[in-house]
């Protein structure tokens, strides 16, 4: 376990063009399906909006008046026409808005990702492609289907991971202007994404957007995500994981470093 694996890099005709090392720390984890299960449960719980709501007897309009006298009518006693027993009445113990989000230790979340990626490699469902690019000017679904049909599996679904950041981050040597300390690529990328979440624009790669649009009509079959968007649920939901070497590096950075602490 935890042994570096050398896998071939293929081109889009699935011919070998080189090789890449996948670090064992990330790609050769023991297949802990319980960890993966916990992460998936956590993910799905956090997706829940928690906005479902029905009205109780106090929230349904009307019903303030006692419908008939307590005694002497021969009918069952009733205090309100909106009681749960009435047609059109409120719901007893109905769903209320609720925060369903769970917390999961970050170490378990990261381990879950490693295990999910490792299971792809162990099952022979991981392919590294030198480039995931649509050659034509406009997004072309046909070009993408031609590529994935080479894998010879009708029912296989594909998760394509490509680097979405427009800057070639390997060339980037970020230096803190105050201290002159060189930051790691990982820190820089994490910062970039943190700022993107705040609303700052990040330079997105045109090729990535084109690829994403090309896959838009293949909803159930192909999903295109950046390495930062790699998650356990998608890894399990899609059969084959196809990555570019750039994405492999980004994922390796993301999963082999300790979680970033910003100070």
């Amino acid at each position: 376990m935890l042994i570096d694996r050398v896998v071939p890099v293929v081109n889009r005709s699935l011919e070998g063009v080189g090789s890449i090392t996948l670090p064992g720390l990330v790609y050769d984890q023991p297949l802990r399906k319980d960890i993966v299960h916990r992460v998936v449960v956590w993910q799905r719980a956090n997706w829940r909006q928690g906005t479902v709501k029905v009205k109780t007897r106090s929230e349904v309009r009307g019903g303030g008046r006692k419908p008939w006298p307590q005694k002497g009518t021969g009918r069952a006693r009733a205090g309100s026409i909106r009681s749960p027993l009435f047609r059109g009445g409120g719901k007893a113990h109905g769903p209320r808005p609720k925060d369903w989000s769970q917390s999961l230790n970050s170490k378990i979340r990261r381990l879950g990702l490693r295990v999910a990626v490792s299971s792809k490699l162990a099952a022979g469902q991981l392919t590294v492609v030198d480039e995931l690019k649509i050659e034509s000017k406009a997004p072309k679904t046909k070009e993408l289907t031609e590529f994935i049909d080479r894998f010879e599996h009708d029912r296989t679904s594909f998760l394509l991971v490509d680097d979405a950041v427009g800057i070639n981050w390997e060339d980037y040597e970020p230096v803190d202007p105050l201290t002159g300390v060189k930051k790691s690529h990982w820190q820089w990328r994490a910062n970039l994404l943190r700022n993107a979440r705040k609303g700052e624009e990040i330079p997105l790669c045109e090729d990535f957007l084109k690829l994403k649009r090309s896959a838009k009509n293949l909803k159930k079959r192909v999903k295109v995500i950046p390495p930062e968007g790699l998650n356990v649920y998608d890894l399990l939901a899609f059969d084959r994981l196809v990555m570019t070497p750039r994405a492999v590096k980004a994922i390796t950075y993301r999963l082999s470093h300790p979680p970033p602490r910003f100070h």
Binding site: I3, P30, L31, D34, A123, E152, L236
Partner: protein, 292 residues
């Protein structure tokens, strides 16, 4: 017999056949031959056996392309191989938590068959059968409770300071290993950062004298407190110990400066504790000892 994996796995039951799966818990792998009840040491690295070379098996095991298959049968090579070495891929429908990791919720009042039917496990009538029914903690039904029956004793010392202790033998071991630089000033931050003391430093570090006889480093060190034996041993080597005072905020600012946008002003010790310290601890972390 070799099995890929980490650590040891105990093979139980009908684990005998060639290619039997060893996949309990977090371990995965395939054994070539194992008898039942045998404890197997899992060997790291790609599986090797008599039949094939390691690269042959690597190709088969990981579903990768063999070098021959690059150009000729590209599409076929990309196919998911169906061989006994490949592990079942994790999918949304075959993951589960460990057995016993989750306990089923007790649903009360759901009929006799459930076992928690009519009285819901609360018994018949009375205060404890009602909702919210339970006398407050420490209430003994009206008799004078224990906490009132017994006299008060002891006192709370507002000046109490708890130190993480550090013995000289450990310090010298760290210096010997090169984890602490003896030529530089050793502060409590150095001690914490190098891991010679743990993260439960409450009010500071006290230096103790175990290992004083063999201590042979010239160091200058700033700690909160120091035993006489330790001080003697250090000063015998020409080093110096300075007792510095940090309050809790100051200690935090010393240990974790990144938490502070503005470094707090170093606090002086309270008058009643002044006799314990020699200097006010400096902030941020100093790199030279205080000169008299």
């Amino acid at each position: 017999m070799l099995v890929r994996g980490l650590g040891r796995v105990c093979l139980r039951g009908r684990w005998g056949a060639e290619g039997a799966k060893v996949g309990t818990g977090g371990l995965r792998g395939w054994c070539v031959a194992a008898t039942s009840g045998q404890t197997v040491k899992l060997s790291p690295g790609p599986r090797q056996d008599e039949e094939g070379t390691s690269s042959f098996l690597l190709t088969r095991q990981w579903g990768l392309w063999s070098s021959a298959g690059y150009s000729t049968a590209a599409a076929a090579a990309a196919a998911v191989p169906s061989f006994p070495g490949a592990s079942e891929p994790l999918k949304l429908n075959n993951i589960s938590d460990n057995k016993g990791a989750r306990r089923k919720r007790k649903r009360v009042g759901r009929g006799i068959g459930s076992g928690w039917g009519k009285t819901c496990g609360r018994g018949h009538k009375g205060q404890k059968a009602r909702s919210g029914g339970r006398p407050r903690l420490g209430f003994e039904g009206g008799q004078t409770p224990l906490r009132l029956r017994l006299p008060k004793r002891g006192f709370h010392n507002p000046h109490k300071r708890e130190y993480q202790w550090l013995n000289l033998y450990k310090l010298s071991s760290w210096i010997r290993q090169g984890r602490i630089d003896p030529t530089k000033l050793i502060t409590m931050k150095t001690l914490r950062d190098t891991g010679v003391v743990g993260n439960k430093i409450k009010d500071g570090v006290k230096l103790l004298g175990a290992g004083h006889a063999k201590f042979n480093h010239k160091i200058s060190i700033e700690v909160s407190s120091c035993s006489e034996l330790a001080r003697e041993a250090i000063e015998k080597q020409g080093g110096q110990v300075q007792l510095v005072y940090y309050n809790k905020l100051g200690l935090k600012a010393l240990m974790k400066p990144w938490r502070f946008e503005v470094t707090p002003f170093p606090a002086r010790p309270p008058p009643k504790l002044r006799y314990l310290f020699e200097y006010v601890g400096r902030l941020p972390e100093p790199d030279t000892p205080i000169t008299k």
